[in-house]
Every structure is written in structure tokens, then in C-alpha cells.
């Protein structure tokens, strides 16, 4: 019998809570991602110095830092299940779509924590002009949603392959070029006083497309 709507929501909520609890117990995922993001940020800041009037570079480097940190960490929710041999049990209690959405929400939360530390630090260290907060947060939020949506599905695929660490970045990055292009263009536009609406619409359309396809594909991820 297919799960009802309310039981699916309960399953998603339970998986999100389980992920948060697992992460909180070990904290190795978030600690590693934060260290990686801050190290990348420091390397970038040291290499190029402060960029008060280079909005093109400011926008590009911020997304590069976020992308590197995300690619270093966002597959670990699925990898943890495979390495701990807990995926089979998880599949017994929840549908593939509920598992996928639960992990997507966790990845989103993970990215939000990462950005809460990285973005203010980046703005201070790089010395850029103050952002227009509305468009800035809109582009950042939609870009993060797109990042999490893509990497969650790719993480689920790659966690079942050999050499998943290197493969995850190699397989995800080309798919994320649209997010990078629209995100960089949107952040640059808001810094230059231009509307960031077109880029926000591109990101929204990308999220809707990838999320829609993911919901159809989650059922095919685990069968053996």
C-alpha cells in the first residue's frame, strides 16, 4: 500500500531529525565543511587581497568558495548510510522519495549553517561594497537550493559507486555550472545596482526542473 500524504510528511520529518541527530553526535561533517570553507576563503583572500570595487570577482569567488565547501561535504549523508550498512533498514521504514526529500532538507540546513559562517566572513575579509540584502539573499538562497537539490541526487547515485569521494565532485560540478553562472551573474548584478530578477528566475526554474526530475528518479535509486 503506498504511504499516505501525512505518513510521507512524518517520514520526511523523521529522516530530517535522524540526520540532524547523527550529525550532532559526530559533527565531523559540518566541522570538516566549515574548516574547508574557511581555509578556501583564507587562501582566496590571501591570494587576491581586498576587492572593494571588483564586483565581478567578488561574486565569482564567493560562489567558488561555497561550491568547493558543498562538494567536499554534501555527499556524506548517503555515504554514511552505505558505509554504516544502514541504508537497507532506512528503506524498510521510508519510501525512496521520503528518504531523498529528508536528506535534501538536511543538506539545505547544512548549507545554511555553512553560509551563516562563511558569507559574513567573506564580506568582511574581501572588503566588498555592502550588498543589497533582498536580492543578495534571494540569489544566495535559490542558488543554495539548486546546489542542495542537485548534490543530493548525485550523492545518492555516487554513494553506490567505487571511488565516490573523487567521483562526487567530478560528476556534480558540470551539472552545477548553470547554478554557478546564474549565481555569479545575480550577485554581480545586485552589487552593481542592477535587477537580479532574471538570474533568480533561472535559478528557480533550475530548482523546479531538477527537483521534479529527482522526485521521479528517487524510486529507481535503490532496488537490490
Amino acid at each position: 500500500m503506498p504511504p499516505s500524504g501525512s505518513s510521507s510528511v512524518a517520514a520526511v520529518w523523521a529522516i530530517l531529525r535522524k540526520e540532524c541527530r547523527s550529525e550532532w553526535r559526530t559533527r565531523y561533517g559540518i566541522n570538516a565543511a566549515l574548516l574547508f570553507a574557511v581555509a578556501t576563503l583564507t587562501a582566496v583572500s590571501f591570494a587576491v587581497g581586498r576587492l572593494p570595487d571588483r564586483t565581478d570577482l567578488l561574486a565569482a569567488l564567493l560562489w567558488v568558495v561555497l561550491l568547493f565547501a558543498a562538494l567536499a561535504s554534501l555527499a556524506h549523508t548517503f555515504v554514511r548510510e552505505v558505509e554504516g550498512h544502514t541504508l537497507t533498514f532506512l528503506r524498510l521504514v521510508a519510501s525512496p522519495a521520503a528518504i531523498g526529500i529528508g536528506k535534501l532538507l538536511f543538506n539545505l540546513l547544512f548549507l545554511a549553517v555553512l553560509e551563516l559562517v562563511t558569507v559574513p566572513l567573506y564580506l568582511v575579509l574581501m572588503g566588498g561594497p555592502p550588498p543589497r540584502w533582498g536580492p543578495f539573499l534571494l540569489v544566495l538562497g535559490l542558488g543554495s537550493l539548486a546546489l542542495a537539490t542537485t548534490t543530493t541526487l548525485v550523492g545518492a547515485v555516487v554513494s553506490q559507486a567505487r571511488g565516490r569521494g573523487a567521483l562526487f565532485a567530478a560528476v556534480s560540478l558540470p551539472l552545477l555550472m548553470v547554478v554557478l553562472a546564474a549565481g555569479v551573474s545575480g550577485l554581480r548584478a545586485q552589487w552593481e545596482g542592477n535587477p537580479a530578477g532574471p538570474e533568480a528566475r533561472v535559478l528557480l526554474a533550475y530548482v523546479a526542473t531538477v527537483l521534479g526530475a529527482s522526485l521521479l528518479l528517487y524510486d529507481h535509486l535503490w532496488e537490490d
Partner: protein, 224 residues
């Protein structure tokens, strides 16, 4: 055999006609000849990736390994034609823009298509078990394909491009193309498309034979 010979003669005749019979287009000069190779290569690349995605969807629906063979063969050939389009485009860019590679949005797009499908092949190589490989590769192929329209149509609009656009002349501009150029161009387009389907069928037959040989060897090992 007769069809293969006809295909060879067709492409050879179209190429010769492009060099000896069709005139040069105004504004393009000698680089007109690149048109007969570059656009058909890019067209076949698009056909190949669409074919690969269609067979990935069919595999997920029917679970027949024949569809996986088709998807993998089409992706391999799509990469080959992607490289052909990139090299011929780079030669044209050197003649018209002075540099082989300018990171123009169209050049960037073709480069990322190459990376996306290169990642598809890398993923296939990292998954053990033909059923699992076929299923996960099909999932990745579908998610990769839904991002392609964003790379092809949206990203080039976010950044200014030097690439001639529209590629196919609009209504009212038809008269500006010499009919001999159009004949050679369409002949090459058809020839390249037929070449793709022929080589794909060869690749699929080879995959089928390899699978039969592996199963026979496994059966012989089991009975010994």
C-alpha cells in the same frame, strides 16, 4: 554493405561539393567550409544526447539491457561529435576572432556538455554489476539531460556572446543563403545523422556480443 558504401559516397560527395561546387558565403570567406562540418557535428551531438536520455528513460521503464547499451553508445558518440564540433569551432574562431578559444558562452557550454557526459562514462566505469550500472547511469543520464537546455539556451543569454546567432537563418533571411550552400549543408547534416545511427548500431551489437561471451564464460566456469 550497400548502405554503408552509399553512406560513405554520400558524405564524400557532400564534402567535395562543399569545396568545389558551393560558393563562399559573404562575410565568411573560406571559413564557409567549416559550416559543413561544425553545425552537423553539433547537431549530431544534440541527437546523440537526446537518444541517450530517451533510452535511459526506456531502461528505467522496461529494464532491458538493450536500452542501456543504446544509451551508453549514444553518449560515447555524442562526446566524439562534441569534440569534433569544439575543434571545428575553434578553427573557425581562430580565423574570425584571432584566438582558438575565448571562453565565449557557446564554447563554455560545449565544454561543459563534454564534462557532463565524460562524468557519465566515468560513473559507469565506477559501478559494479551490469543491472546496477545500467540503473544508476540511467538516473544520472536523465538528470544530466534536464540541465542541458539551461546550458544551451539560458547561460548564453546571461553573458554576452560573439557566437553567430541565430544559427539557422530566420524567415525572410532565407534568400541570403545560396541554394548550393544549403544543399551541401543539408546533405552533410543527413550524412552525419546516418553515420551516428550506423555506428551506434555497431556499438550496440558489440556490447551484446561481449555480454553473451561473458555469460558463456561464466556458464563454462560454473559447469567446470
Amino acid at each position: 554493405m550497400a548502405l554503408r558504401l552509399l553512406l560513405f559516397l554520400w558524405i564524400a560527395a557532400a564534402l567535395l561539393a562543399g569545396f568545389l561546387w558551393a560558393p563562399l558565403a559573404s562575410g565568411l570567406g573560406e571559413t564557409t567550409r567549416v559550416l559543413y562540418f561544425h553545425i552537423p557535428s553539433a547537431w549530431v551531438m544534440a541527437v546523440a544526447f537526446t537518444w541517450s536520455c530517451a533510452h535511459s528513460v526506456l531502461y528505467l521503464a522496461r529494464r532491458k539491457l538493450e536500452h542501456d547499451d543504446q544509451a551508453a553508445a549514444a553518449a560515447e558518440l555524442g562526446i566524439l561529435f562534441c569534440v569534433a564540433a569544439a575543434i571545428s569551432g575553434a578553427l573557425w574562431a581562430k580565423a574570425k576572432w584571432g584566438e582558438y578559444w575565448n571562453w565565449d558562452p557557446r564554447e563554455t557550454t560545449i565544454f561543459f556538455l563534454f564534462l557532463i557526459y565524460g562524468a557519465y562514462l566515468a560513473l559507469r566505469g565506477a559501478i559494479e554489476g551490469e543491472e546496477k550500472r545500467a540503473r544508476l547511469a540511467a538516473v544520472y543520464s536523465v538528470i544530466a539531460f534536464v540541465t542541458v537546455p539551461f546550458l544551451t539556451f539560458v547561460v548564453p543569454r546571461l553573458y554576452s556572446s560573439l557566437h553567430p546567432s541565430p544559427i539557422v537563418p530566420q524567415r525572410g533571411e532565407q534568400d541570403s543563403i545560396d541554394p548550393r550552400i544549403a544543399v551541401c549543408f543539408v546533405a552533410m547534416l543527413l550524412g552525419f545523422t546516418a553515420l551516428f545511427f550506423w555506428v551506434t548500431s555497431l556499438r550496440v551489437r558489440l556490447a551484446r556480443l561481449e555480454r553473451r561471451r561473458e555469460r558463456a564464460a561464466a556458464a563454462a566456469g560454473g559447469t567446470a
